[in-house]
Amino acid sequence: MSYIIASDLNQALQILRDSKGQARVIAGATDLFLQTLPAELVDLAELYETTQLEESGGLLSIGSAVTHASAARSLLIRSKAAALAEACAMIGSPQVRNIGTIGGNVANAAPAADAAVALVALGAKAVITDIEGQTREEAVEELYAGYNRSVIDSSSEIIGRLVFKPCAAGEGSAFMRFAPRRALALPLVNVAARIRVSGRRIEAVRMVAAPVKPAPTRLFETEALLQEIIPGHEIWAKVEEAAASEVEVRGSILRCSGQYRRHLVGTLAERVLKEAYQRACASDGGET
């Protein structure tokens, strides 16, 4: 086996081209290193292109090799994409967060990967470059081919970065998970939301829960309940009910029953929406 630490994106693509399908890309390695390794690995963790975190041209751009720890610490992400900072702070353990990457969290395609769930709520797209040199953008929720299977072919495609519109004035986001312990535990359920308000009226909302399907799943019916209203006590109660009833969830002998998971989706949906709504209102600059 050979292991090459790539020095720039073009070199990484060249190695993939030359290896004719034998090489795969790797970044933090926290998931892939536990599996059977391919003949060649190309490490993307040191590239300039994949390690930048910036706001430019009206978009937040997060390099795919930005670690969970750096994302959770970043003032830019905490202030303009709070859901992502909250999700990244809960992945694995400090040791895993120091090396695991956001791009890896997406490409590994686990159904309830915390960062990916937050990214879908924020409306993030992955910027993908292939060995032909073509670059395309795809919504994160479109990158799932099945349970733990990504549509990204890591022997010929590289996620360079993830991009989305940062939360502006009048917008807020939040993420919550429920797990048996607060560290080193996979979530039984995780939920994220992004809301835009004007005055106290909800103008737009994106609400995501997992694990429901192979990909983080939008709760469209729950979102519809909240369009163009000023939410009050009754609406929040309806949200809990709607979110719980619109998901098709499975139980697992190791984790919890389907019924319990459904209950958790409802409870977390209400809490996350309230939190995102409050943040949106607080950032609305007092305009009514």
Partner: protein, 162 residues
Amino acid sequence: MKKQAINFELNGEPVEVFTEASGSLLHLLRGQLGLLGTKEGCGAGECGACTVLLDNQPVNACLVPAAKIEGKQVQTIESLSTSNTVHPLQESFVKKGAVQCGFCTPGMVLSAYALLKANPDPTPGEVKEAISGNLCRCSGYKQVEEAVLDAAEKKDQASSED
């Protein structure tokens, strides 16, 4: 299996090794370099017994491909003590009864060491967070938390005496 040369800094000294690229940093440290202070628990990134510092950040050595450390700094538990003395943080672990079987201790100490370096005056919550990736199955976490806070206090006193 193909071997490759890797240059890195180990406990402050430059080192060159010739090793299997697909092996883990943990096995490189224990098997090839004879540094047995780093423990192998689960081997899957879930227990923290193999915690080492990679460029000053705690990581699970079992999840780090050996080839990934090229050009980086690795610090293991062996760097904290000499044959005659132990680090003040280790003294606090002894004083507070934070060691029972000792298997998780090297990892706990390194997680705490990294915390205190970045944040010399942590809150109890920050200590809990810092050691949340290190599992202990015997003495529990309370004594460890007390030991880390004790070490922080000592550091505080030492710097105010300067």
